[in-house]
Amino acid sequence: MRGISRTTLAIVIIAVVVIAAVAGFLVWRYYFATPPKKMVFVVIGKSVHPYWSVVEAGVKKAGQELGVEAIFWVPSKEDVPAQLSTMDTYIAQNVAGIAIAPSDPSAATPYINKALEKGIPVITIDTDAAQSNRLAYLGTGNYRAGWLAGLLAWQCLKEKGYAKPGATVKVAILTGSLTAANSLERIAGFQHAIGNASKKDPDIGGNINIVWLGPYNDEEDAAKALSLASSVLASHPDLHAAFGVYAYDGPAWTKAMEGAGIPPGKICLIEFDVTPDNIPPVKSGYAYATVGQRQYFMGYYGVKLLYNMTKMGVEQALKNFIPGYPNNKIYDTGVDLVSTRTFEFTAPTGEKVKVTSIDDYRNLCVQLGVDPKLLLGE
């Protein structure tokens, strides 16, 4: 009375596996006989995040324009093995080209090189893997973006008069990961910029004591970010500057400040990314500015560049696209610094820094072909 006997089960299993295998093989043969359909390009992002949704929009647009299949793939959280195993899968499929934003550049290097050896063109976007043989890099380094955030913070500290000779300045950093490369690079850029500016600033000349708090890790959980920010404010009510490394970190700082009764503008808060959530803090004056990367172009030009490589050859495509090729293999997509007003200042490091107002940024979006609602909300 056991229903089916075990032996029958065994035979059924073997039968099912065999049938599946044979059927799969036949289907494969069938497809093999027909010529491949569309070319397939793959763009691999880092995690499900508004930032990457904008990249995706660029990818889809390019795919549409070129009439090719442009696949965009992200793991749900930053996850190096998941990203690389997916890349491995696409390599196994012999796609026409891959653009990847490696979560860990050095871990991705073997796979980038492997794809190139198989003849699949690979470029990096958002985060570079400089030691690999990738054909080109599209994007603004996160280090550079963090650097600009640092310069902004320094400018704000000066404006508010916190940065005085001999003063102590407390700067706190909140991030979603202590291991993801973009976070590490943004933080490094931010810290180096402030350190550099404080030394080069003629008024200060390094005569200032900068206390770094953090980076505190909220594990990509906005509620945890808020609780950490509140704790930091509670223990350091005299905080001077704050940096939110991931998109929701800026709003979390803002909420925490509201909760602790700190008035807008008292703390120099620099946000990262332009999402509908990052704009209210800027408008209300809690945030000095937010740093936006033009990620749309990484997706859009990424696919176009890969397409051209397959059509006109790698060298030609790169020569047409990147100024200064072959000495330079980096295409800078640029960074936007968004605040309530448009202004410009010269940082102590000698760089000219341009800040756009929200309205100007909206116009810029329209001009570049991005739906501003996506980035700025209503």
Binding site: V48, S76, L178, Y216, D221, S227, S230, S231, A234, K255
Partner: protein, 342 residues
């Protein structure tokens, strides 16, 4: 003032030797509070003392509000989880349900335009129905299987599914709710405390004083015996998973109201802390033992550790490891104490 009056009542009970109810009240107090809580409370006191010594800001009202704000969502979730654990099951989905609930709430309010109270109600209903589904699944398969198996599997599936679902509905974008001022009310301190109190009182009442509570313990103690004794085991399980679902959804609502923005990632992974809060607070993962109060104390300990590590200026890179060590010490102390009581 509130605190003062409670203290007054306690004092009256403890010091007035003529009070005829004193002994009774004391024994009840012991049963409800002291027993499961002593070891951990000690840990809490030590941590508070040390942190206060290192950083006097620890004792400011703002700081305690900050601690409280974050803990409440976790406590509520952990209380729901405590029912499931006591009944001998496990609910791995609470974090993802909280995340999905936050998104559902925002979707209802912002994209459909349903009034806030109704949206909250519908969100809780959403949590409830997921929980009931878990309860039904577990009931169908267990017995004959040991409860933990279908429970682990189906709630794991839900964890994965609803975690993905939360991200997928807006393709990862947050839903901003700044314009819905009324929603912020939910996360004002008095309301938060009220939510905590109501959930705690309800949970403790059910567990310790109601018939249903006895059934929950019975099912967790030995489901076969409970069944033979005439306990409606399936109703009990529908209830515990449903309750856990509602609590998780409530945690999602609290999180969303705190940020006034629904982020798909908020709450993901929180189930681990909810279960850990219970384990730390003396709720047996083997079922049949423990109480909701333990869950609250456990989540309080976890929240406190996080706060105190920030306040004492421990390097953020070592925060995780130090958290691990402190938890270990607290837990070992507590287990050791209970070992001696046995």
């Amino acid at each position: 003032m509130y605190t003062a009056s409670i203290l007054g009542v306690i004092k009256a009970y403890i010091f007035d030797a003529n009070n005829p109810y004193r002994d009774k009240a004391m024994s009840m107090l012991r049963r409800i509070v002291v027993e499961p809580v002593f070891g951990i409370s000690l840990a809490i006191a030590v941590i508070a003392f040390v942190t206060g010594a290192v950083n006097p800001n620890f004792w400011t009202v703002e700081n305690w509000e900050a601690i409280l704000r974050w803990i409440i969502a976790l406590s509520v979730m952990a209380m729901g989880e405590s029912f499931v654990l006591i009944s001998g099951g496990i609910d791995l989905s609470v974090g993802s349900i909280a995340a999905a609930s936050g998104m559902v709430l925002a979707y209802l309010i912002h994209c459909i335009g349903i009034p806030i109270p109704i949206s909250i109600f519908l969100t809780l209903l959403f949590g409830l129905s997921i929980g009931l589904f878990h309860g039904a699944f577990v009931s169908i398969l267990s017995p004959p299987f040991p409860q933990i198996m279908p429970a682990f599997l189906i709630t794991l599936v839900s964890k994965i599914f609803f975690g993905g679902f939360a991200q997928a509905i807006t393709l990862g974008w947050p839903i901003v709710l700044h314009q819905y001022r009324a929603l912020a009310l939910v996360s004002t301190t008095p309301i938060l405390v009220t939510i905590l109190l109501i959930t705690a009182i309800l949970s403790i009442y059910i567990q310790r004083f109601s018939i249903l509570g006895r059934y929950v313990y019975a099912v967790g103690g030995n489901i076969d015996v409970a069944r033979i004794s005439g306990v409606p085991i399936n109703k009990v399980r529908l209830f515990v998973y449903g309750y856990s679902g509602v609590c998780a959804a409530l945690a999602g609502v609290i999180n969303t109201s705190l940020m006034m923005t629904a982020y798909p990632g908020t709450g993901l992974g929180m189930e681990l802390f909810a279960i850990a809060s219970n384990a730390v607070g003396g709720v047996s993962l083997a079922g049949g033992e423990g109480m909701a109060l333990g869950a609250i104390i456990g989540s309080f300990l976890i929240g406190l550790i996080r706060n105190s590590l920030v306040l004492t200026g421990v390097s953020p890179y070592w925060i995780e490891s130090v958290t691990g060590i402190i938890l270990a010490v607290a837990v070992v102390t507590d287990l050791y104490r209970r070992l001696r009581i046995r």
